[in-house]
């Protein structure tokens, strides 16, 4: 009997293509929206995690100011002193290395090509705290670092823009008012989920940048590498105590610097992207339910419109159960069909949007299966009421229906 019913339902769907399409439109949109949103949410989360992983693990970032960015008004909190760096390195247990950084921006010029970029002055510790392999060339040496020699290592973006075809290593380029020897090119790190292109940078010895660009021995940023054997949070609070003391912040006054645990940032960002994904998915899920109601509406209209047909079927000898099943199977077939089309639309949407959003493409089998099952369930739930109504019709009245 089920086979017969399925044949009847599919015939009826095929006979009313436009009506069937309009009926399923809500489901198509709902499923497509849910699957697209969840997939993109996961892709974004993955991208965020990846870019945070590229910052390194067990790293504390120490900056002047509160929180990200400048924040609020008032005078800018002072940068760190060279002595602060030494104090952290020498006085706190569990600190593997401290990479002090001074930053500036300047335009780099080589043979008519010019490129405005960030100059990052740091020490050899930088590459120890946060491994960043070279594509070619070498890191700077101890003596170069100590002397503050004008040598530089280019990020990939800078290299591509200044040296469209030629070799970079071994050349001498101008950056700001000085000229410096290019000794290495870094491997590509890619887009950070937040904060732009990590490869758009020139790395020079700290002293060189301090002397020729920032004009002071102050340090803007410290990257503290924590030994795996130590709790990052414990090291974090030790650094906080030490810096409060050194910066003379007493009592209940708030810190004028902040320490970020990259893992903490990662967790925060992951949980906020997860939350956003959840909200957007909930909205999409509502559209799926609206789609289900759409099916119910059209099926109800269709029951009224097809009253005569139902009368004929009943007169011919269909039992109530068969009529119920026919309409139910029709509703389920429609919503499953809509679900399948929705899945296809979702894959296309994801394919199109990953490019725009600059995240990696991914296929999430789980959400596809869940969305499809939900669409089938919607067919059952919202198809049942119209189907029951059809089955309850009195054959005599149904046949007389105009």
């Amino acid at each position: 009997m089920f086979g017969t019913t399925l044949v009847l339902a599919l015939r009826s769907i095929a006979r009313h293509k436009l009506r069937s399409f309009l009926t399923t439109l809500g489901i198509i949109i709902g499923v497509a929206a849910v699957v697209t949103m969840v997939t993109l949410g996961k892709a974004t989360t993955a991208a965020v995690q990846k870019s945070i992983a590229s910052l390194g693990t067990n790293i504390l970032q120490v900056r002047p100011g509160q929180g990200f960015g400048r924040g609020g008004g008032g005078p800018r909190p002072p940068d760190f002193k060279r002595e602060d760096v030494i104090a952290i390195r020498e006085q706190i247990a569990g600190v593997k290395a401290v990479a002090a950084q001074a930053q500036s921006t300047a335009t780099a010029i080589y043979e008519g090509a010019n490129w405005s970029t960030t100059i990052n002055g740091t020490t050899g510790d930088y590459f120890q705290v946060q491994p960043w392999p070279l594509a070619e060339g070498r890191y700077f040496t101890g003596p170069e670092e100590a002397a503050g020699k004008a040598v530089c290592i280019l990020g990939n973006t800078v290299k591509t823009n200044l040296y469209p075809k030629g070799e970079a290593v071994g050349t001498r380029m101008r950056i700001g008012n000085i000229s410096c020897d290019v000794i290495g090119v870094l491997s590509t790190r890619g887009q950070a989920g937040f904060g732009g292109d990590q490869d758009d940078v020139v790395i020079m010895p700290l002293k060189a940048v301090q002397r020729r660009f920032t004009g002071s021995t102050d340090v803007r940023l410290m990257l503290v590498g924590v030994d795996d054997a130590y709790q990052t949070s414990a090291v974090q609070s030790s650094i906080e105590d030490l810096l409060r003391e050194r910066r003379k912040i007493t009592g209940t006054k708030t810190d004028d610097f902040n320490i970020f645990d990259t893992k903490q940032i990662s967790d925060t960002l992951t949980s906020s992207t997860t939350l956003l994904t959840g909200i957007v998915t909930a909205v999409a899920a509502i559209s799926l339910i609206v789609g289900g109601i759409g099916i119910m509406n059209i099926m109800l209209v269709s029951v009224t419109e097809r009253t005569r047909e139902i009368g004929i079927r009943l007169a011919i000898g269909a039992v109530a159960r068969e009529v119920l099943l026919q309409f139910l199977v029709e509703a389920i077939a429609l919503s499953c069909l809509g679900g399948l089309i929705g899945l296809v639309v979702a894959q296309l949407a994801v394919l199109g949007l990953v490019g725009v959003m600059k995240v990696d493409w991914m296929f999430e089998p789980q959400i596809n299966i869940v969305a499809f099952v939900i669409s089938a369930v919607i067919g059952v739930v919202f198809g049942y009421f119209p189907a029951r109504r059809a089955a309850a019709l009195n054959p005599i009245d149904a046949l007389r229906h105009e």
Binding site: R11, G317, A318, A320, I396, L399
Partner: protein
């Protein structure tokens, strides 16, 4: 065609619609026997009770009182689905308005009762084609109702009614929507089926010309059988 036993037996059948003051008694105690193989025309003024009787005979409705025996089953005791199964097995319906499924080929319309009977695809196709052949529309099997004339649509409806080899064919004013020429053709088809297949035909009609094809004419009036006439069928020699 000799009568071979009573297939339908109504005794004291009443039918009341509504309740209390607005109650309307459509049938007031109908006694009627119909022999297997008979061709019966049911006539009478509107409101006389002929449609109600046909609904009961078609197992679409149940009497309020009295008994209705069909092939020995007491139909008044059966539930909705049991009556549906009786219809499926033993009854065929032809309506005034044809009542074919729209956008559905003649063949698929005729196959419909076989689908509910659970026939396999091949059997369904062959049986339906044979039924279409009987009504002279085998070449029109792939046409939808919109592509067929009124007379052809009614033939398809008759093919659908007889495709399961029912015992009884119920026709509710089958020529009501057709011109007289088409009407005669349909009546000849029905009486031919009655003669050749022995199918019992019950037909409601207003027109004496159509009733003339029947062997028995039952006249209804005011919810009762007024009189029953036996007549020689048109075109048949007087026995």
């Amino acid at each position: 065609m000799a009568s071979n036993g009573t297939i339908i037996r109504l005794r004291g059948v009443t039918k009341t619609y509504g309740e209390g003051a607005t109650a309307f008694q459509a049938l007031k105690g109908v006694d009627l026997d119909i022999d297997a193989g008979d061709f019966v025309a049911v006539m009478g003024p509107s409101g006389g009770g002929k449609s109600t009787t046909m609904n009961i005979l078609g197992c679409l409705d149940v009497p309020t009182g009295g008994t209705f025996e069909f092939r020995g089953h007491h139909v008044e005791t059966l539930d909705r689905d049991q009556r549906a199964l009786l219809r499926r097995k033993y009854l065929g319906f032809v309506f005034q308005g044809f009542n074919l499924l729209a956008r559905t080929s003649a063949l698929e319309n005729v196959e419909l009762p076989l689908l509910y009977r659970g026939d396999a695809k091949k059997a369904r196709h062959d049986t339906a084609m044979a039924a279409l052949d009987k009504v002279g529309l085998a070449n029109w099997w792939d046409h939808t109702p919109a592509e067929l004339s009124g007379g052809q649509q009614q033939r398809v409806a008759i093919a659908r009614a007889i495709v399961t080899n029912p015992d009884v064919l119920l026709a509710d004013e089958p020529t009501g929507n057709l011109d007289s020429e088409r009407s005669i053709e349909i009546m000849e088809l029905l009486s031919g089926l009655n003669r050749d297949s022995g199918i019992t035909v019950l037909m409601v009609t207003h027109e004496p010309d159509m009733a003339a094809f029947a062997r028995t004419v039952v006249h209804f009036k005011d919810g009762l059988v007024e009189r029953i006439e036996k007549q020689h069928r048109q075109g048949e020699a007087v026995a």
